[in-house]
Amino acid sequence: MSIRIEGVSKTFSDYPALNSVSLEIGSGEFVALLGPSGSGKTTLLRIIAGLERPESGRVQFGGRDVTKSSAASRGIGFVFQHYALFGHMTVADNIGFGLTVMPRRMRPNGAEIRRRVTELLDLVRLPGLGDRFPSQLSGGQRQRVALARALARDPKILLLDEPFGALDAKVRRELRVALRTIHEELGLTSVFVTHDHEEAFTLADRVALLNHGRIEQFAPPAEIEARPESEFVRTFLA
């Protein structure tokens, strides 16, 4: 599903976090929001998710205006940097959570939920770990569970906030590959936030480079490297 952001602005206390940002992401694209800390990349992602309200501007999903919709009703999947798994629930209950909170008339029954959880555990390569608690898993495994949980309700848009930030290099590489594969398999439109330009350039179809609440350049990695559009882009990549 395509994402269209038009003139979005957001201010935190006094400094502008986003300054009239516009961005168009095509259906099926894999986009990275890249920039130094304080550049507004996480704020932009949270506005797409509905976790923050923009002061002005609009957000559209596939032509539908979602600017005023709640996070719960946008039909997105969101993966947090520190996983945000529910510590008192098993892995299976975490993954099934999105299904169990659906309105009664739409909610799948227990057997269907269990089947879907098994399917998702296979998708993220953690078969048979449903009965564990999050505290019994490694960081990489927890992030896989978080990914499976975000995918439970079949979102068309997947948003990830520094999804590899808390992991070591080897686990990072494995997870990147897994994420890219899942993105292709499910035909998702994915947006992820990172401050690591190597990660953005190897994984994304297009990279949006942010600085001081503005987009400096939005283009495929090869083009950014070949033709950096501003001094900031040149120095950031150096």
Binding site: L51, F86, G87, F97
Partner: protein, 279 residues
């Protein structure tokens, strides 16, 4: 390990400090507790059981339980709501709200009782209005509940605010992005995350609600069998030189403290395990 060696005290100092601490606890805490118990049972088990089952004592016990049964749930709801607001949202006046929640701890219990007399007593602000409508607040159950609520309202909130602040908003945000409503998020994510801290706060709140003397004494009117809670009943008996009965009822309050302490320790133990699992 360098810091450890600088902290190493001579064995004699260590032994003296430990001995001093134990001696102090025995003298100031255990000895008085033992005195209460031995006085309570000095005239035998029969006298003790008569003292705690005579009508006025039974009325005092019932009243104490009733006041706690109203005040503790009220403060639990208030404490959870206030902690939720303070820890999950940004708003003006937050620091002021936190300071106000702590207020009852720094106010003398006499004042905590007196404010209600000034508001609802016969000579108080709403006194005539209440008398005209034949509503009694002071020297009756509502006054006892108000005074108890005032004194005990920081307990739950104080326990939860640091806990919920340290937990942050990520779990709630995750639930929202997964399609949960605010209500579902509260019951299925927030409440389980704070359950041990909440139980702990409720327990302390309850112990204080049942044991409160000062504030309740001001609004009670000391009507035997009607507005005397257990702590007040103890005082009345003592002033009548009825020591065995006074200490018998006091021994029940002491028992409450011991039970609270045991439950609190058990919870702390569970709570620590749950916290360790989270990180």
């Amino acid at each position: 390990m360098a810091s450890r060696s600088t902290l190493r005290e001579p064995p004699l100092v260590k032994a003296l400090l430990m001995l001093g601490a134990f001696a102090y606890i025995v003298l100031m805490l255990l000895l008085p507790l033992w005195a209460v118990m031995s006085e309570a049972f000095r005239a035998g088990l029969r006298a003790w059981s008569m003292a705690v089952t005579e009508p006025d004592a039974r009325a005092a016990i019932k009243l104490t339980l009733l006041v706690a049964a109203i005040a503790v749930p009220l403060n639990t709801i208030f404490g959870v709501a206030a902690s939720w607001a303070i820890s999950k949202f940004q708003f003006r006046g937050k620091t002021l709200l936190i300071a106000l929640i702590e207020l009852p701890f720094s106010v003398s219990p006499v004042v905590s009782g007196l404010v209600w007399v000034l508001l609802f007593g016969a000579q108080g602000w709403f006194g005539t209005w209440l008398i005209d409508r034949d509503i009694q607040i002071i020297f009756a159950l509502p006054g006892l509940v108000l005074a108890t609520v005032f004194v005990t309202f920081p307990f739950v909130a104080r326990q939860l605010i640091p806990l919920m602040t340290s937990q942050g908003r990520a779990d709630e945000e995750a639930a929202l992005t997964l399609g949960a409503s605010g209500w579902q998020t509260f019951w299925r994510v927030t409440l389980p995350n704070i359950r041990f801290g909440l139980l702990y706060g409720v327990l302390l709140c309850n112990a204080r609600a049942m044991g409160e003397f000062g504030a309740v004494s001001v609004v009670s009117g000391h009507i035997r069998g009607e507005t005397n809670t257990m702590p007040l009943h103890v005082e009345v008996l003592y002033n009548e030189y009825n020591f065995v009965a006074a200490f018998a009822v006091a021994s029940l309050l002491t028992l409450l403290a011991v039970v609270t302490l045991a439950l609190k320790s058990a919870l702390e133990w569970r709570y620590r395990a749950a916290l360790a699992a989270r990180s």
